[in-house]
């Protein structure tokens, strides 16, 4: 295995995984919250929020990356303030994680929202009549019941992060060891003479990771459904 990929390749693989995991972990709580709000609450400007959440799905990734650069670049609107606090996102792996989180966010929110919407609101009313305040209602009833959708949303977001290219390369470039992911490294190989074999090997790794992620999500989901059907 060690020889299958070169050291640069391994660096890119682990960096990709790190970026995808950080992006997922960082965005999941917000994704669940936004999905719940969109599924259950009525508030002014809901349509606008919905549009904003789904925006990365429809605008070109390069545009998203460029907007991130404007916002979080060293001289960007938030970038400068964050830089004063010692947080730099542009051309760092953390920036790549931010880009991946934003690109995966619509997919995540959509799956989780559908899952929340599928829950019978009467169950929440029943919990309320039993004395559960909104906090406990959410954590004891809604969240566990939405778990299958949350797993799907997390998987989609994770997969999107692994495959993210346009926004990443625009916002944080393609720096080996810092922001060079599987996707951007494959792109680099295809630009080099004789890089085809390396590109193919990385492609296989990428496929394997995606495959494992999907299977893991299916297993977790099946378990959840079995439990709801009363099997466990």
């Amino acid at each position: 295995m060690q020889d299958f990929l070169g050291p640069d390749d391994w660096t890119a693989v682990f960096l990709s995984l790190r970026i995808a995991i950080v992006a997922l972990a960082g965005s999941l709580p917000f994704g669940i919250l936004v999905a719940y709000a969109l599924a259950r609450w009525h508030f002014p400007g809901k349509t606008l929020v919905t549009a904003l959440v789904y925006l990365p799905l429809v605008i070109p990734p390069v545009v998203t990356g460029y907007m991130l650069l404007i916002a979080f670049g060293r001289r960007g609107i938030f970038g400068q303030a964050l830089a004063d606090l010692g947080i730099v996102l542009s051309f760092r792996w953390t920036g790549a994680a931010l880009a991946c989180a934003i690109m995966g966010f619509p997919l995540m929110v959509r799956a989780i929202r559908l899952s929340f919407e599928a829950i019978d609101p009467n169950l929440e009313k029943a919990a309320s009549s039993l004395g559960a305040n909104p906090f406990f209602r959410f954590f004891l009833v809604s969240l566990p019941l939405a778990l299958p959708g949350i797993v799907v949303g997390a998987t989609l977001s994770f997969a999107r992060a692994l495959g993210e290219f346009g926004a990443t390369i625009t916002f944080v470039s393609n720096i080996p060891g810092e922001t060079q992911t599987i996707s951007t490294l494959i792109y680099t190989y295809t630009q080099e003479p004789g890089g085809d074999a390396s590109a193919l090997r990385l492609t296989l790794v990428s496929l394997a990771i995606a495959f494992i992620a999907i299977i893991a999500s299916e297993i977790i989901q099946a378990r959840g459904e079995k439990r709801l059907a009363g099997g466990g």
């Binding site: 019978d120 009467n122 169950l123 009313k125 029943a126 919990a127 309320s128 009549s129 039993l130 004395g131 559960a132 305040n133 406990f136 209602r137 004891l140 009833v141 566990p144 019941l145 439990r227 709801l228 059907a229 009363g230 099997g231 466990g232």
Partner: protein, 360 residues
């Protein structure tokens, strides 16, 4: 005690309900669409009234004028829904204990084992709700509401989704709850049998308005006088008389006569309500002889209500109460009875099983 006086408009439907309950079971009785479930939602805090007050044991839960609205989870009112609403991701035991965590420690007077024992659900504790039958699910739902140690229990047509057999299994359980746990209950139903059996007080709703409040025997016939359906019934207040042990019968005595009922029905002197369907009553101008029907009640024909080829005779029984009898119009004409004349109403005993009887 719960004191309700609320108004709520939903679309074109206007609800205006005011009543207070007594100890024991207060029934909200009315046809579907009369506003019963909406009223339950307003009491339980699942819905807000446009105007009005809800006061439970002196504590104001809702007062639109004072802008008070206590959310459902702080009301300590347990609700059992028609569709049980057990949490599918939790087991039976966890479902039962769900509300208990939220009840104040000092108020946890109702014991887990007591509820499980009374409802006979001990063997279900390890199961998932999806693996329960309709009747089991409803028993667990009742237990869950009870174990939240509520000050008031709202039962919203808890038996409506069950077949007659399950219903007859759970009805006595609700009677036991009423007697053992001493929690006042507001019981929503459109079923006259359930209401007459369980309730000590009935609030009759019609199109969102209260049309009658009072004793089941007084109120239920009134509710039925409004009823245009072909299925008609009357409620008679009777007393348990002699018992025929050899044949397993109980005599029910009314000033107008007596009827014999299958089975044992309480100690002599106990007051009972009997629901008699109009189709189970036969009319005669002479006292019955040589008939298999044993029970005859004497009264006077009050009025005749024509329903196409059928007719409903309203009979003022001697003493108290009105009995409805349904026959064909021709049979009634051939009998030749005029309003005000004496008539005997024969009640087919076998048509009355114990589900038609309620304690008072």
């Amino acid at each position: 005690m719960i004191d309700v006086d609320v108004a709520r408009q939903v679309g074109g439907f206007n609800l205006k309900v005011a009543f207070s309950n007594a100890d024991g079971i207060t029934a909200l009785f009315g046809r579907s669409g009369s506003g019963k479930s909406l009223t339950i939602g307003l009491i339980g805090g699942l819905d807000r009234p446009d105007r009005g007050r809800v006061i439970l044991d002196g504590r104001t839960l809702v007062d639109t004028q004072k802008r008070i609205f206590v959310p459902a989870y702080r009301r300590r009112i347990g609700i059992v829904f028609q569709d049980s609403r057990l949490f599918p991701h939790l087991g039976v035991r966890q479902n039962l204990l769900f509300g208990r965590w939220f009840a104040p420690r000092a108020a946890r007077a109702i014991s887990f084992d007591g509820v499980v024992g009374t409802l006979g659900i001990g063997h279900l504790l390890g199961r998932a709700p999806a693996k329960l039958s309709g009747g089991e699910r409803q028993r667990v739902a009742i237990g869950r509401a009870l174990l939240s140690c509520p000050k008031l229990l709202l039962l919203d047509e808890p038996l409506a989704a069950l077949d007659a057999q399950r219903r007859s299994e759970i009805l006595p359980l609700i009677e036991r709850l009423r007697d053992e746990f001493k929690i006042p209950i507001v019981y929503v139903s459109h079923d006259i049998e359930e209401v007459s059996r369980l309730a000590s007080r009935v609030v009759v709703l019609e199109r969102g308005q209260v049309v009658a409040i009072g004793d089941p025997a007084e109120v239920l016939p009134m509710a039925f006088a409004e009823d245009a359906r072909t299925e008609r019934a009357s409620v008679l207040a009777m007393r348990v008389g002699a018992r025929d042990e050899a044949y397993g019968l109980t005599e029910l005595v009314h000033p107008a006569g007596a009827i014999w009922l299958a089975g044992a029905h309480g100690a002599p002197g106990t007051r009972l309500y009997v629901v008699v369907k109009a189709t189970d009553v036969t009319l005669s101008t002479v006292p019955p002889e040589g008939l298999s029907i044993q029970g005859a009640l004497k009264g006077r024909l009050a009025e005749v209500e024509a329903l196409g080829p059928l007719a409903v005779a309203h009979i003022s029984l001697d003493g108290d109460g009105t009995l409805l009898a349904m026959t064909t119009r021709r049979a009634l004409d051939r009998l030749g009875v005029k309003p005000g004349q004496a008539i005997f109403a024969l009640v087919k005993t076998a048509a009355l099983d114990e589900r038609f009887v309620g304690g008072a």
